[in-house]
Amino acid sequence: MTAVVALIVLLPFAGAAAGLLATRLGTRDLRTRDLRTGDLRTGDLRTRDVGARTERAVYRRAAWFAIAPGAVSAALTVWLAAALARGAGISEGRFWSGLLPGRAEGTLTVVETGSVPISLTLRADGLSVLAGILVVVVALAVQVYSVGYMRDEPRYPSYSAFVSLFTSAMLLVVYAGDLIVLYVGWEIMGLCSYLLIGHWWEDRANSRAAVKAFLVTRLGDVGFLFGIFVLGTAAGDFRIDAVLRADIPRGALVAATLLLLAGVAGKSAQVPLQTWLPDAMAGPTPISALIHAATMVAAGIFVVARLYPAFLAAPPTLDVLGVVAAVGMLGAALAALAQDDLKRVLAYSTISQLAYMAAALAAGSDRAAMFHLVSHGAFKALLFLCAGLVIHHVGSNLISHMGGLRTALPVTFWTMTIGFAALAGLPPASGFFSKDAVISAVEHGTGPAQPFVYASALLTVGVTGAYAARAWLRTFFGPARIEPLAEPPPGVAHVFDGREAPPSMLWPAGVLAVPALLLGLAGSAAGVEVEWGPAAVSLAVALLGAGIVYALWRAAPEQDPARLLGPFRVPCERAFYVDAAYAALIARPVLRLARGVVRADTRVVDGAVRGSGRATLGLSGLVRLAQNGNAQLYVTGLLAGLVLIAVAAVVLT
């Protein structure tokens, strides 16, 4: 069974390698022949035809390299899930052992390091298969969707290869049985995120966003790595099983989990490292769906769930996590309410939803967190894909350019309505069930910060309903505000062509709508019981938020319902000036320090080097005076030296 797991991880990797290395194999001589036989600029029809055909062949081949391994991986994952469901595993007392009792673990090789060995271990159990299914399904949907979305993109082969590489890395994180292996996948994900955010690097803002995402997540990853080291050295082993079984002193455990929490906050965009995620929306929309909504940002939550016994044994860490989540969910939801960019609305909502999962973990229920992780992965990926459809149609990211799209985009309208219903937690969509699980978990939590977290969670439910309703109404209802753009700048999809997107883009959205709608029912069938009292309360709160926005919108459909925030709106739109504060407190001092270091380098270090050269020249100038060509002077010097040596020899002996 381990071989199957390895295959699931390696297939997308092979797809990535093939996509990077082999998409243009054999087409080069064709192209150079084109260049030799005809001039492209004068419009030699035959040559241009051949060139376009070559490009299409490359594009088609890259699409195959991207989709085929992903599809096989998905099929193998389903098989693995079936095998685990049949298996009669050891009861570990964790929630997934009831769902998928089997487990498999295999070690490929053990790397001796001199102290704590690193073992290349893969393991599959209920938790990893749950997350693995989410990853392969969303990745496959996104790959298919990208075929349509990136149709006229010259760098499509590298794009799809990076998506495959990302899928492979995420699967490695999910199936890793060893903390170091997990960290390898974790870092490759960060790299892919960086590469894909900066896909349209021609625009300086995009590459800046990529660098920002890279640096901020790296800041957390330093903590993460040291947390792994603390756990590994305390347990004497990096294997997750051994770490969880080991008897680690409480102090080391708290330190390790707090360090791990830094990495989790960086990857899952939690306070205080949340600022990179909204900027990461500079990447192509499918990337936002896959990496920055459904999978990579959920990896942080997944790691906490994976190491949950260690976190449970360190209550201070869970309290910190709870406070972080409470602040993050409400702040991000308010920020989402005021944004004008559709993708940024979804980005802030992602931060808010991830904070829900963190709150569930902090309250002691990894089952609710994982349930919300899976359902959020489905409906948020769906929302992003639909947002991509809308953006593809309108040619702009801004909600104020949209409106009245209900009739023009019927499929998108319905799928996105499902997504928004799930996001706002309306039954029977999946979000209702998973959010209810989270909120009842938070309600039953026992930590000192739990009342605060619970209040924040309930408020956030209302704000979530409000911003979901606002985005939905402003996009699909009201007067149409489409202004055709002349030439699309890089980073904004396409010119307006008045039709709905090609089927390769509609199908993935439609397929993802099914789990987004039904996953909650499946979850409750699988044993996550609904507590109807709190569920009714949160539903009422969500409807209240949505209702206020609807009333405001009804009164003036052409105005933004975000005006209900009043003077509070500008701080919300700027995400409470966290970016500006970081720029003033960290970025600018660091830049100033860097400039100082550069100056010190040129003045002091280089100055010392140049000064020693100049001093040598000056000294040699002095010595050179003696070399005047008079041989008798030389001999006199020789004699004087001889006399000196003789006198010294006599005196000293």
Binding site: R610, G613, R614, T616, L617, S620, G621, R624, Q627, N628, G629, N630, A631, Q632, V635, T636, L639
Partner: protein, 117 residues
């Protein structure tokens, strides 16, 4: 005869030679002063050879060598002096300064060393 007499004589000879080498300006006289120094050494060698009663007479043998080398050296030196005189019309040691460092204007900013020419 006590060894101190020839040693004192040779020391005087050597000092005269050193003075000549250092102070005379005529190249031929400088060469002659070198001869004086060599012969002071020869005198020393012979005197100590006798005083120490060396059976192999190493001092005297070495003296013969020195005389031969001195003859060769003088021949070579005089030839050089002659060549110098032919080209420069002078044998004044003070004015033969072709070995001096040619002082160029200092090359500001370039940290590389200037080669002697």
């Amino acid at each position: 005869m006590h060894v101190v007499y020839p040693v004192v004589v040779s020391a005087l000879l050597f000092s005269i030679g050193v003075y000549g080498v250092l102070a005379r300006r005529n190249a031929i006289l400088v060469l002659m002063s070198v001869e004086l120094m060599l012969n002071a050494v020869n005198l020393n060698l012979v005197a100590f050879d006798v005083w120490l009663r060396d059976r192999l007479h190493g001092g005297q043998v070495l003296t013969l060598f020195v005389i031969v080398i001195a003859a060769a050296e003088v021949g070579l030196g005089l030839a050089i002096v002659l060549a110098v005189f032919r080209t420069r019309r002078t044998v004044d040691v003070d004015r033969l300064r072709a070995l001096a460092e040619v002082v160029r204007a200092p090359d500001s900013g370039r940290p590389d060393g200037e080669g002697a020419s």
